[in-house]
């Protein structure tokens, strides 16, 4: 089964990013393909390279980067949600599809079109929200 995921909530403040993470691990362990994770609304805060949780806590941002590296899961941050929330520096400007300095490894910036493409491609689309 091909699954796409949407995360609408900021990490740490809500459990959504954790629930999504454990769900994805279980799905991959069962042999399903997690096609893309689309970070929308406050979900874009999951991508901040400079986020530094206390050393004895899970590092949610690093987790996502690791997922991209190990399982080739496409991590896409919504450009307009990110701009609205100041995630993209103006000097960096927009390079659609590029890896931005403000984002952790493996994340890329793109528009809602990539969400729709994932939804159309996937057997299931699961949203995790606040």
């Amino acid at each position: 089964m091909k699954i796409s995921i949407q995360i609408n909530a900021s990490p740490y403040q809500y459990q959504a990013a954790d629930t999504a993470w454990h769900f994805i691990q279980a799905a991959i362990a069962k042999g399903h393909k997690v096609y893309r994770i689309f970070f929308y609304h406050d979900g874009v805060y999951n991508a901040y390279r400079d986020s530094r949780p206390p050393g004895d806590e899970r590092d949610i941002v690093k987790r996502w980067s690791g997922l991209q590296l190990e399982h080739d899961v496409d991590l896409v941050v919504c450009v307009s949600s990110a701009q609205r929330r100041g995630l993209l520096e103006q000097s960096v400007a927009l390079k659609v599809g590029g890896y931005e300095q403000a984002l952790s490894d493996g994340f890329r910036i793109a528009g809602l079109g990539l969400l729709m493409e994932a939804v159309i491609e996937s057997d299931r689309h699961i949203t995790f929200g606040a």
Binding site: V79, S80, Q83, R84, L88, Q90, A93, L94, G111, L112, G113
Partner: protein
């Protein structure tokens, strides 16, 4: 004329009240573009769309909306890029006195 206008860092008008046809011509001319009847058709469409729906379409929706209103030929990317080579959505909004669309920064 352009000196008296409030503009953002991308050259877009901050205050739509300051827009008129001459302002549009001046903004375009600053970008090296002379507005023709075909440009005005798209610019007028943008203004009417915004007034009616209080919304700015993204690039994909923009083409679709133009297609519905002005016909398939004019909603096609190739036609729109001929008119506004640096980006139809961005520059149609700019000369219409509207804000820069979120995905155009």
């Amino acid at each position: 004329m352009l000196q008296q206008l409030e503009r953002d860092e991308y050259g877009f008008l901050r205050n739509r009240q300051q827009w008129n046809k001459a302002v549009a011509e001046a903004l375009a001319s600053e970008d090296g573009l002379a507005l023709t009847v075909s440009h005005w058709e798209i610019i007028d469409f943008m203004r009417a769309y915004y007034d009616e729906f209080n919304h700015q379409p993204n690039a994909r929706l923009f083409g679709q909306a133009i297609k519905k209103k002005l016909g398939a030929e004019k909603g096609a990317s190739i036609y729109l890029y001929q008119l506004f080579p640096d980006g139809p959505l961005k520059y149609a909004n700019k000369y219409a006195g509207l804000p820069i669309p979120p995905s155009c920064i």
